[in-house]
Symmetry: C2
Subunit: 105 residues, 2 copies
């Protein structure tokens, strides 16, 4: 199992509509990707490690797939539509990372 | 529910013992934290978003707790022992982030 993390670095003037991201954008991603997305999780940055510091990422999602190939097959054909929809909730450019799930839930 | 992400930024000369992290370190964290850690996940960086780029984080764990207070109560008394054990698998300094779990699994 792999996870693709899409992580939005926080900035002082960041716009990020957490409700839209949770209620509209991520369900759209799941619908478009179908079974190639086994499930996904979403989190909202609250704080950094040191007292009074902000979270590195204001919002993140993690898309869980059987393999990188499965992710690419499910995401690729809909990449444009998914990217276009992102503009509805944020102007931030995400950092992406592909990881092996070593210990899952 | 909140998650505390402990994320190790990759470097060209990074040492990171994924097996120790999975088999020894994280089980130690869970044992020490007890029920204040509901569960945890671990992942291993494979790749960045652009072709041929490395993952931002070589390894990460995410510790799930009912609240920030629950995390602090469970982690705080054992922080020194947990930090000391980290040296057994890496010299990297982690980036920490506390997040609200908006969509969990």
């Amino acid at each position: 199992m792999i996870k693709v993390s899409v992580m939005y670095p926080d900035t002082p003037a960041a716009r990020f509509d957490h409700e839209y991201y949770r209620d509209r954008h991520m369900p759209l991603v799941k619908t478009l990707m179908g079974d190639s997305c086994k499930y996904y999780t979403v989190d909202k940055g609250l704080a950094g490690g040191a007292p009074g510091t902000p979270a590195t990422y204001i919002g993140r999602c993690h898309i869980f797939c059987d393999s990188v190939q499965a992710f690419q097959a499910g995401f690729g054909p809909h990449a444009r539509q998914i990217m276009d929809d992102i503009a509805n909730c944020t102007d931030l450019a995400p950092v992406l990372q592909v990881s092996e799930v070593v210990v899952g839930h």
